[in-house]
Subunit: 188 residues, 2 copies
């Protein structure tokens, strides 16, 4: 795994994922994560509320970027098109971090408490997308239902991306799963 | 709130909701719930893994009924129609427990740990619906995306039902929100 340059949050997450993979999630302490990252425990807690949270770092910036892109989209685009376009703008960032994302996925899949935290993060993600869609004029239920469907499709596409033996990019899998969503919805 | 007759699970849930409403969730113990229900703590733990779980009691039976109804549905019905029909069969049970459901909703909404548990329950509900749809021939992604959309619509309809000052039945709100889902999907 390449070391992520720069920000403390990314260094802490990279250190945490290394240690969780080496020793297991349960046997790794926040102090050890901070030490591996060359930072203090205090710095860790400046960035993350607890050990679980280090696996879910960049959502605020990710969501803010999506909300901004959705708000800036042309008003003649459909709500789902606007969300897909916004998600496709994020894929380079993820494709550059594929190995880390795979290790992170295995750690989350190994523990129910981490899966619960991920569900809460995905719910917050959906609520933010719904707010952005309401902001461009979708009615409340339509905005929430479109946002929820988009989050489900995003999760499936992410899983396909990480499991793909051909290592195709996240954008390929997003296009594929959103195509499946449209095909499924046409039968509803 | 009328006393639910019969099964220990329902008595324990009714007692728990009464106590949570009277004293708060945090200040109520499993021993007190069991005592209020006229049962032992041991019986409580035979039915529920922990205090949180008493708020999520009937999902296994609920899901089993839905899965059975989906499996028995005519093969010429669309996947979403089949799910809606199955959900509509459950509404009488909920409509008879509206007051309890409102108290339960307020308790869950008051605590992040309960909301997280509910998200996990909804994820399990979606996985079960997806399995039932695959069982009647839907391809994997279509089954998962249809099931997720149905769970989102179900959650919105439940919230509308509990907040409805006109006290219309859950079936009314399910039909309304699934209509919104179809209208939204037609723009995707």
């Amino acid at each position: 795994m390449g070391r992520w340059p720069g920000r403390a949050q990314e260094r802490l997450q990279a250190a945490a994922i290394e240690l969780f993979a080496e020793r297991g999630y349960e046997r790794t302490t926040v102090a050890e994560i901070a030490e591996r990252a060359g930072l203090t425990e205090r710095t860790f807690y400046n960035h993350f509320a607890d050990k679980r949270e280090v696996l879910f770092p960049s959502q605020d910036g990710f969501i803010a970027g999506l909300v901004e892109a959705i708000g800036a989209a042309s008003s003649d685009r459909s709500p789902l098109d606007v969300v897909v376009d916004a998600l496709l703008e994020t894929t380079d960032w993820f494709d550059r971090r594929r190995e880390t994302a795979q290790q992170r996925r295995r750690i989350i899949d190994s523990r129910a408490e981490l899966q619960e935290r991920e569900l809460a993060k995905m719910a917050a993600f959906g609520a933010a997308l719904a707010g952005a869609l309401r902001g461009r004029g979708s009615a409340g239920p339509a905005a929430e239902l479109t946002a929820s469907a988009a989050v489900s499709a995003y999760q499936l596409a992410s899983a396909d991306w990480l499991a793909d033996p051909q290592r195709r990019g996240l954008g390929h899998h997003l296009r594929s799963v959103f195509g499946e969503l449209r095909a499924a919805a046409s039968t509803w």
